[in-house]
Symmetry: C2
Subunit: 215 residues, 2 copies
DNA sequence: GGTTCGCATTTTGTATTCAGAATGCATAGT
DNA sequence: ACTATGCATTCTGAATACAAAATGCGAACC
């Protein structure tokens, strides 16, 4: 067993992302460094380093003298982020080996089909969705692109807690995934890319209903 | 005059980027925190915070126990970055107001025409190129996208020092800019986007000649 | 009563200190 | 002569200490 040797700041960053995913931090809330550091059992130094990393990912904001706070959500920003991710995932798909895509298509289809299981909580749905997109992009050779996508998606995580799982939207999402998988199975890369874009735009609209009007 | 009130870490980050642009740091070199901090006249704490920020932008790498080093260059990574930036700038162009684009097109054309002035050093050429792309994207309403582009381009800066200014490539670059501007003038957004992609790919190929083969 | 000034408290921003890991060299052993 | 081990040195990683800015409250003044 290789023992864990990562800087504290990274472990802290991950822990904070976990807590964020669990809904422990509301957007707009500010961070009290001393309290949070004590809670995590570390000193302020590596905590601040993690906070700075998360700021770079758009999860937090910082203001001179006022410290860090969890970035507030806004419909505008959400639309902006979705546009970016849709573009980047499209690029990732286009750069992937077509043969590989055809190879994973059956599994993608399968995953999409078993998607709308008993109306699970949104955390489970989101995790499944992430897995699916992860597999979809698994053949992309552009490592920087995958890194970038991961970082941007981290910045979007705070939007996921706003919605409650609903039957109909989840079914729609699954249907769109099936569509993409079918195109890949046919070797229709252009069509798949188009469907992927549509999936993001559709998902965005389904989400937007749950995001309060802007600032 | 509004007096400067920014965290040291940000000022340090900018200063380091300046020095990087001036070619003071070779890719692959590692950072000695104590020395650099003394040189900048600050303590290691805000310096490290700046280093962490730059790591998030791809300018530096960090290894447990071994500190930070300027990320080495590689043809592969360069290609990856160009693909990303090309996609994102295309998206930015497509999200811009067509009327605004038509409005700035004349100025873009003008700038492109006066581009190949007496064979300036590459720093000047790069600065001009940045200005041009900056104006091109000035109408993009997607702020997150512009932020992201700025960060990714920061990560690409270290490639700019590898090339020496040459007459012919600079002329080619200018010609491509003219092409893009003309399309915008005609209101041909699709064509402009295509030409922009071509410009990035072309620029990449012109650069690749100067980047040593991979690791 | 309301507003403003000033002080106390809290919290962030930066510096300094301490601890532990990595590197390099010298020496001892084969 | 070459390898391996131990030690000294150097540097990073993390914690603590200090300084400065922001916030909140209360009293004095209008």
């Amino acid at each position: 067993m290789a023992i864990e040797r990562r800087p504290l700041r990274e472990q802290i960053r991950d822990e904070l992302m976990d807590r964020l995913t669990r809904g422990e931090f509301a957007p707009g809330t500010d961070v009290n460094e001393a309290v949070l550091a004590a809670e995590l059992g570390v000193s302020r130094t590596p905590l601040r380093e993690a906070l700075i990393t998360l700021t770079g990912e758009g999860v937090l904001e910082s203001n001179q003298g006022r410290g860090f706070r969890f970035a507030p959500v806004s419909r505008t920003e959400f639309r902006e982020l979705v546009a970016i991710v849709a573009s980047l995932e499209s690029l990732a798909l286009e750069s992937s080996d077509p043969a590989h895509l055809r190879g994973i298509a059956p599994r993608l289809l399968e995953m999409a089909r078993e998607f709308p299981d008993p109306v699970a909580d949104h955390a489970t749905v989101d995790r499944r969705d992430d897995e699916w997109h992860g597999l979809l992009l698994s053949g992309c050779p552009n490592e920087r692109l995958l890194d970038l996508l991961a970082r941007i998606k981290a910045g979007m995580r705070r939007y996921e807690n706003l919605v409650v799982a609903e039957d109909q939207p989840v079914a729609r999402e699954a249907e769109e995934h099936c569509e993409i998988a079918r195109r890949l199975l046919d070797g229709d890369l252009t069509g798949a890319t188009e469907a992927l874009r549509a999936n993001w735009v559709g998902g965005m609209e389904r989400m937007l209903a749950h995001i309060p009007p802007d600032r």
